[in-house]
Amino acid sequence: MNCELFKQNVILLVYDELPDDTLFEMRQHAERCLACNRELESAQQFRADVSATPVLEPTPNLLASSRLRLQEALETAEQHRGWRAWIFDPVDWLRQIRFSPALAAAILIVGFAGGVMTAFRMQPVSGGGTTPGQSTEASIAGIRGITQDPNTNTVQINYEKLLPASARGSIDNPDIEKLLLYAAHTQENPGVRVESVSILSQKCHDAEVRQAMMRALLEDRNPGVRLQALDGLDQYVKEDIQVRDTVIQALLHDTNQGVRTEAIRLLQPVKADSAVRSAFEQLAREDENEYIRSESERTLASLPDID
């Protein structure tokens, strides 16, 4: 706080428009600065002077005659409905029914549903002896439409329910696999994603599962999930070029050192690969992490020279 700033804000202080922290600073400054303290007193006196002077107030007669005059004018006044007289305004209609008792509970449900949720529809699982369980509770997946019976408080709401269910079966079961794949890349809970990736990593012989692992390694926000994905891809780095390239990408760009360290380990069997060698050369030259640099140098040192 300086004197210039104080002068700019003194009127706001006097009229109670300052946030508490600025108010505190100004009061502190006024205690130390005589000139600003005088400025504050002058501003306060100004407000007091203006407040002390007489002000015009409407007389009861004036108010009464104004009301009477308005009443007479309202007799012939019309409200502008304009195009609204001819067109159904859903916004206006929804506002009108806002306080309708029949809608109160429905609005509460919609409010807690928090927007449209995606629903995964569970197909009956076959061959694996599964029995999908069903819960009696239902969550709302989405509202498809709301209509009100004219001139009544009755409304009809069409909505979709999300019913909790469970499935049990072998990981070789296609439906179980489908659920696991869905969980691996859509669930908000990282713990669920880690579990599903961990289970799926046992099935990386499946091309679709391997694709999911690679996607998890490059895109998942959680390093635990990415580590699990690496674990699943471990045995495919040699035979699958796409897996190798994905692991190289993780080594070069992942933000987590644990993931990068694990990627270095995975690439050891294929360190002679030119793309892998090139990645290690780049890291040895310019990576900002000392451990990564030294491991890259060590890996390069163990490679035979290229003639």
Partner: protein, 221 residues
């Protein structure tokens, strides 16, 4: 109980004994009352509109009178503001309070009036009554306090006269912001909403207005 009744009951039950909470409750109830009246008025219920008018018309008339210093002009502005509100009530979408909305209409009408009359010329703060007679503004307020000090009264009247002259030197917008801030006690954020501008602009306008007033008063001493 209806959902509406539940809402009102819930608000009431949370009132507690704290004056702050009590004030919040009364504001919440007032808001609920206004919404009910507005909806009725939007359906063409004139009695509902008149009830709404009665809740705000004294404040509207006071503002108009203070800015125009003319009972006739104040009444005209009062009439025009509420008729405008009635005609356009259908387009009121509850995005702000009715209070803010009606004040927005009134302030615009007052600003138009101030601009037309060009009240920046220096003149005594004289009010024009309905019958056409003029009255010194300062004479209107009777000092009915016991043991009033005549000398102090005279000094106050003289100061009031000077302030009146100084107010006339402000631009219409500065005058409006000062009126709403000092006399009506509104927050600058609300003033900004009413004048369809930002809080920052209202702040700057208040600063300019008070600088001018303080300067003018210092000159006159």
């Amino acid at each position: 109980m209806s959902a509406f009744g539940n809402t009102v009951g819930a608000i009431g039950s949370r009132a507690g004994t704290s004056p702050f909470r009590g004030n919040m409750v009364s504001q919440a109830l007032r808001r609920v009352d206004d919404n009910v009246l507005i909806r009725e008025a939007q359906r063409g219920n004139r009695a509902a509109f008149e009830e709404l008018v009665r809740q705000y018309d004294h404040a509207v008339l006071r503002l108009a009178l203070r800015l125009t210093a003319s009972e006739q002009d104040a009444q005209d502005i009062y009439q025009e503001a509420f008729l405008k509100a009635y005609r356009n009530l259908v387009s009121f979408r509850f995005e702000c309070s009715f209070y803010t909305w009606i004040y927005r209409i009134v302030t615009n009408l007052c600003l138009d009036h101030l601009r037309k009359k060009n009240v920046r010329k220096e003149e005594a703060p004289v009010a024009t009554m309905q019958d056409g007679s003029e009255l010194n503004v300062l004479d209107q307020v009777a000092d009915d306090r016991a043991h009033s000090n005549p000398e102090r009264d005279l000094m106050r009247r003289e100061l009031g006269h000077k302030i009146g002259l100084a107010l006339n030197r402000l631009t219409p917008r500065e005058r409006m912001v000062f009126e709403l801030k000092h006399y009506q006690g509104l927050k600058l954020r609300t003033i900004g909403e009413m004048l369809s501008t930002t809080e920052e602009t209202a702040k700057n306008t208040l600063f300019r207005a008070t600088q001018k007033l303080r300067g003018a008063l210092a000159e006159m001493r």
